[in-house]
Subunit: 385 residues, 2 copies
């Protein structure tokens, strides 16, 4: 089977946007068509990654609306939802559409419009993904993060400061990302002195509520070569779930969905964790960057925090993590985030990441839904890899 | 590429159900595992077709919940939404997962829980898929149906009674479907004298609000043969959209999504409309059965109404349509309907349709989202076809 390639990528400015979901999706979609040099009528499959346009805006059927707005009718459309990892699930769906031969050219657009809601309202929409037996006791995703952070720090004798350093690093990276919601550095004291949200985690351990969208164009390698000599391949991809009830997990500091999905992705790519040069991890909460770093095989269990302490995950480290600024500073529009992770990896592998550029032939994106409830991991390779 | 097969199928009783979406999905999921003789741990991809569990019940993340309830963790999960054609989109996604080599065994479960809402509330959720420029003028899906029915009757000189006969036929079929919401015959006078909803259409021209779910198990033919000698193949499948704004269509009596999606399905299957022995069409409104009958190539444009008048689409006619009772009498739980259409075709092709059994080697299911906004068409063949 021929490899699947990405021939175009785009993202909108993330943040508080005076635009509805339809407009955000169309903005990224048009930019991706332009970036790929593909005309709308060449697109035969159009997927939208989005968790909750109905709940947030009372607007459903957004894939059909996008086909209309991009003048891509009669392209086939569908919405792919996997809660906060809808973007990664969209990448997997787009990959399948090309790999199965169903599609010659698939456009994936992920997006979410959230900031017109209060933080409490938005948190409540997101919390609707948790199991009712936990939710009724007040266990939202931030509270799971607090509990897990406490367990991690105690079990592995990790300093609280190491979590803060994730926020400091990712904010520093975000300064150089013109699309990021927060383009300002924060120092460690600011993080550690910020208001407590879910002890031991504080405000700066959390990603914000965000509006935005991102897009990718998929086709086979042989089609890609008709458009560009600087495409990227999806050499490995996998997805997996963990228990819906978080307290049923044998060890809450291990994300089984990350382990299983990355095992499949590495196997498909014929690569190992050592081969990865740059990665975007789902740092919805700082603690998640440690868990994914370990569960992706970049460090032994309980050792992930040392990588950030030692500067290994800095932009000039041996395995830069979240060069985009991550969800932490770039923002987290649910359906867009997984697509925007891949956008960053594509930019790095094409050598188009500007001030954020690192040396990389192989990149990885790990997109986490819920509190590890569902995960997709994708491995990308540059054309010269 | 090896053909994709269906090795198991199930549906719950449709109607007013004292069960939430999680319970409905698990009921059909377990029944499908039983029917296929497949264990939950053999399922590696689990898709859920559902439009609006968040809007209807405040519960999202239902695919992960279903993986939990079926003990299918760590199977990959995602929700596929294409509004009222989410079931057909799920079939296409499941097909792609197997055809691409991503999955060895994919379980698709479609479902919706609606009857706890008033008809007005449910209609409002469904109407959120329409374009705001039309919705603000009161153009919900039933009103589009009324306008289109008037245009069809006038343009093609068709009698009002022909629409009523669709309802009579489908109710008659539903009597023999133990899963149907309405298992009672209606006579033509009852249909024609029922209250006006959207002139010229009356209450009995519309499908009901329904709870229910249905499921299908997909794998390659070679895997299928390890489980059963009575599987069904998906020999052709395609999807397409039409304009989001209905009044932009050159001819509202032609559903471009049906034409385009079935063209792709026929081409993939190497078959023509003449080869189809039985079909399930999306009779959300009686007029839609005429439009699809024509746009699928079963009759010339404007001639579809004659088929029902002549009894050709009766159970003992030359092309039985909606032997299940259709959405009209079986019910229409949005995310389940497209899956339940395929369930009926699978039962017919396996020779397990009981009193509804017709002679058929090739079956077709056409699932319509919105007012033809997005459509999937799938062609199925029995193992002896």
């Amino acid at each position: 089977m021929e490899d699947v390639a990405i021939v175009g990528a785009s993202m909108t400015r993330f943040g508080q946007r005076d635009a509805w979901i339809r407009e955000l999706l169309a903005e990224a979609g048009r930019a991706c068509l332009d970036d790929a040099g593909v005309s709308a009528d060449a697109v035969d499959h159009l997927y939208v990654s989005n968790m909750a346009s109905g709940e947030f805006e009372g607007q459903t059927g957004v894939p059909n609306a996008l086909a209309h707005d991009l003048q891509a009718v009669p392209a086939y459309t569908a919405r792919i939802d996997q809660t906060s990892s809808s973007g990664g699930a969209g990448i997997y769906a787009a990959w399948q559409s090309v790999a199965s031969g169903a599609s010659d050219m698939t456009l994936l657009v992920g997006g979410e419009k959230m900031t017109h809601k209060t933080t409490a309202e938005a948190t409540d929409v997101i919390a609707s993904l948790t199991h009712p037996c936990e939710y009724k006791h007040g266990l939202t995703l931030p509270s799971f993060a607090g509990l897990t952070a406490r367990l991690y720090l105690d079990t592995y004798d990790a300093p609280r400061e190491s979590l803060g350093k994730v926020a400091v690093k990712n904010h520093k990276n975000g300064v150089d990302n013109p699309h990021a919601q927060f383009r300002k550095e924060v120092d460690l004291d600011t993080v550690l002195d910020s208001p407590i949200v879910a002890d031991p985690l504080r405000l700066y351990d959390f990603c914000p509520i965000t509006d935005g969208s991102a897009a990718l164009m998929f086709c086979t390698v042989s089609v890609a070569e008709e458009y560009t000599d600087n495409y990227v391949t999806v050499s490995g991809i996998g997805g997996a779930t963990d228990t819906h009830v978080v307290h049923e997990r044998a060890d809450p500091t291990t994300m089984r969905g990350v382990v299983e999905s990355s095992d499949r992705a590495y196997e498909m790519a014929g690569l190992s964790p050592d081969d990865v040069d740059v990665a975007e991890l789902h740092d919805m909460f700082t603690i998640l960057e440690f868990l994914q770093f370990e569960d992706l095989g970049f460090a032994e269990k309980g050792e992930g925090w040392k990588a950030v302490e030692e500067g290994r995950t800095d932009r000039d480290g041996d395995l830069p993590i979240n060069t985009s600024g991550g969800l932490k500073s770039k923002g987290h529009p649910l359906g867009a985030s997984g697509v925007a992770q891949a956008y960053e990896i594509v930019q790095q592998l094409r050598g188009e990441a500007g001030k954020r550029q690192v040396e990389a032939d192989v990149g990885l994106a790990c997109n986490v839904g819920g509190f590890g409830n569902c995960v997709t991991t994708a491995i990308f390779e540059g054309v010269d890899a």
